[in-house]
């Protein structure tokens, strides 16, 4: 796996999570109190930095075989969950993730909450909303960056990719001061699901002492095969839904 592929995989995965975290921080800031929301953001980043600082050296110290088995397995479980949801969304069996709607939901909840001051934090609700959003979304970012970086013995490059994605998304969020609804998030999630599944499968099997034909070049076959298979499932299950009906195509579950 080249440095460019590592960078792209981590950047895309982290960008998707960063979009969701940005939506939450924006909702907390615009409807409640910017200072408290930004304090929550700062504290969240601090917690994540401690987690990465503690786990980074630990991940680097694990022997490569064991690391690939455990991390490959975990990445594969992650990837399959992402991919499964992406297939269900694309085939109309799960509502598409809509940042504009997610933002409106957060805003509605934030407007109804009581404002409480705690210590230096003017609005505890805005602080905790922002803090939780950043930590929960950020944990996945940290996990993906550490595992990809650890497997390729290049945690610094993975960290640069993760931080770049966060900075680009945060800058876009600050610039528009609105949910990043124009980011093709569902497509990105599909692509990331394919990549996590492919890399997880590759590393997991290697960790279990399997030898891929062509070694690393096998990834160049695995990724397109997983993509084509997933698109096939989208087509298969979309057709299954619409086949019995003679009415114009309508999806029973999709929320536009």
């Amino acid at each position: 796996m080249s440095g460019a592929a590592l960078f792209i995989a981590v950047f895309l995965a982290c960008a998707v999570e960063a979009v969701e975290a940005t939506t939450i921080v924006l909702a907390a800031g615009t409807t409640r109190d910017w200072r408290s929301a930004l304090t929550g953001l700062g504290c969240g980043i601090l917690v994540l930095a401690v987690v990465v600082g503690a786990l980074g050296p630990a991940v680097s110290a694990i022997p490569l075989g064991g690391l690939r088995l455990v991390v490959g397995g975990l990445l594969l479980i992650f990837g399959l969950q992402w991919l499964r949801k992406a297939i269900l969304r694309a085939s109309g069996h799960k509502a598409l993730h809509d940042e504009a709607q997610a933002y409106l939901d957060e805003v509605a909840a934030a407007k109804g909450a009581v404002s409480v001051r705690r210590g230096a934090v003017r609005d505890w609700y805005a602080f905790t909303l922002s803090f939780k959003g950043v930590v929960l979304e950020g944990l996945e970012v940290a996990f993906i960056a550490l595992t990809f970086g650890g497997n390729q013995h290049n945690i610094p490059l993975a960290a640069v990719a993760a931080v770049s994605a966060i900075l680009v998304v945060a800058a876009a969020g600050i610039a528009v001061r609105a949910p990043l609804a124009r980011v093709p998030e569902n497509t990105l999630k599909f692509v990331v699901g394919v990549m996590l599944t492919s890399f997880g499968m590759f590393w997991g099997a290697e960790g279990a002492h399997a030898h891929w034909p062509g070694n690393d070049a096998a990834l160049l076959v695995l990724i397109p095969v997983v993509l084509v298979f997933s698109l096939g499932l989208v087509r298969l299950f979309r057709r299954t839904v619409t086949a019995p009906s003679t009415q114009p195509q309508t999806s029973p579950v999709v929320t536009p």
Binding site: L69, G73, K94, F237
Partner: protein, 71 residues
């Protein structure tokens, strides 16, 4: 005591959700597939194909399960 238990429960629930997600069968299938791969790789038989086959089967079953439940 109840407060501590509640916090512990929430802690483990968070990590379970974070790692396993909403379909534990997927996680179980991945672990089983990796174990089979390891077992087969100890013999002279090639084992690289087990994970792709397992992933294809798991994904298909998992998606089909949700689709069937929804329809």
């Amino acid at each position: 005591m109840n407060l501590v238990l509640g916090k512990l429960k929430a802690f483990f629930a968070f990590w379970y959700d974070f790692v396993v997600g909403d379909d534990w069968r997927v996680a179980a299938a991945v672990v089983i597939a990796l174990a089979i791969t390891y077992g087969v790789s100890q013999s002279s038989v090639s084992s690289w194909w087990i994970m792709p086959v397992a992933v294809a089967a798991v994904l298909w079953f998992s998606v089909r399960r949700v689709v069937r439940r929804a329809s």
